[in-house]
Amino acid sequence: MKTGFSVFLAAFVALGASWFGLVYGPLKQLGVATETKVLQSDAKWPLQRTGDATLGLQVYRSAGCAACHTEQVRQTGSANVLTITEIGSHQPADLKGFINSLSGSVIELMNASNAVAANLAGWNGELPKVLYSGADDTVVSMLGDKLKAVGVKTEARVVATGADIARGWGTRQSVAADYLYDAPVQLGNLRAGPDLATIGVRAPDVNWQLQHLYAPRSLVKNSTMPAFRFLFAVQKIGAQPAPDALVLPKEFAPADGYEVVPTAEAKQLVAYLLTLKNNAPLYEAPFTPITVAK
């Protein structure tokens, strides 16, 4: 085989290049990642987990939660949004004419004039009113300045857009920084249940979470989630009822004289779920959490 060395070299280069691009490069970039800064704040992201929550990740893993739940919010775009919050002494109709004349005459606003006119069509003065929503941040700052000059108050915001955001599963997409303390990362690839990347924001009540694990359909009527009863102990009520016993509706409660008590694993799992927040604005996933008034 005269070409043996060439074949070896070609294979070496091909595999070496993929290893370099798919293993070495990402490791060099993200393998050394540390906490990042939260936008417009001195806080760091993500927050270190408590011991219970760290153990809870292993419970999440062993219970197979990732088989039906993802932990990744997706985003298809971003928008700079300008909202009118106060119109002062102006009449809506006059203001409409003024804004339309602005977006026809100021060069920076020309490209947005159709979008602004469409947003204003049929507006009869109800507030807050979204005036512009698009990629161009100069339109937002310019329009905000021009309106401020005539006494109209506006708010400029950056929002993420996409189906997951519209479902209320988060305010921005998940990025590598969110998984810094996850080992192993529980991305998941099937959404038989909802995404859990922000479940700590959506359902921050410990008792709700525990009851939902024990009897999902006692809280969410048509839930398809299996009941994780092995994370709970059903025991005879002693001299005093246990302080952490679940308060269950009649049809889900055990027989009289018994109570349902969460085990350590259940408490760890809930502690972990409550740390899933993904709600800090980061440089790589920007959004405006609170409105910035102009």
Partner: protein, 201 residues
Amino acid sequence: MSDENKNCCSSETGEPTATRSAAPMWIIVVTLALVFAGGLFLDSHSGWFDKNVYAPYQSSAQLEAFQPKSGAAAALARGKAVYESVCGICHGSDGLGKPGQAPALAGSEWVTCNGCNRLLHIPLAGVAGAIKVQGKDWNLNMAAMGAALPDEDLAAVLTYIRGAWGNKAEAVTAAEVKNIRVEIGKSPQPYTGEQLLKMLE
């Protein structure tokens, strides 16, 4: 053994050998075109493999447009916006001025002197008559363009002028603007170049 096999694989003539022939020109052209298109796509969609650029963002410049502005960055963005709408019409977006309309601000000694506040007086009261800028004589009138601006906006735009186009001078605060506005009073008279020069001393 059939005849076919015999024809196909007779070993009497020894092992078959590969011969060489040049690749057709069209394959080379198409390959190079594909490589070029791939390069263009990577250039516009990869964000240069920046670890902070995630889809749907395609470049760090695009990501930058969605960063909420605050603090110094917000003041600078504000200053730029005010400059473009008030000052830039005559002094130019590049700060190089326009012949017969306005002298340059980029590198101008009237702008970049540290510790002197001539620059603050000019937009609040205006300038009239002869003035020498970067060794060049001008004889124009500038109205009090900044008198109608709020203190914060005027401070922001002056800070922008002092920091843009290679200028490196200290920032202007809203308090300084306010002091000079009070000093000048309600009915400002435009300065002459000589009056402004005296302020330096």
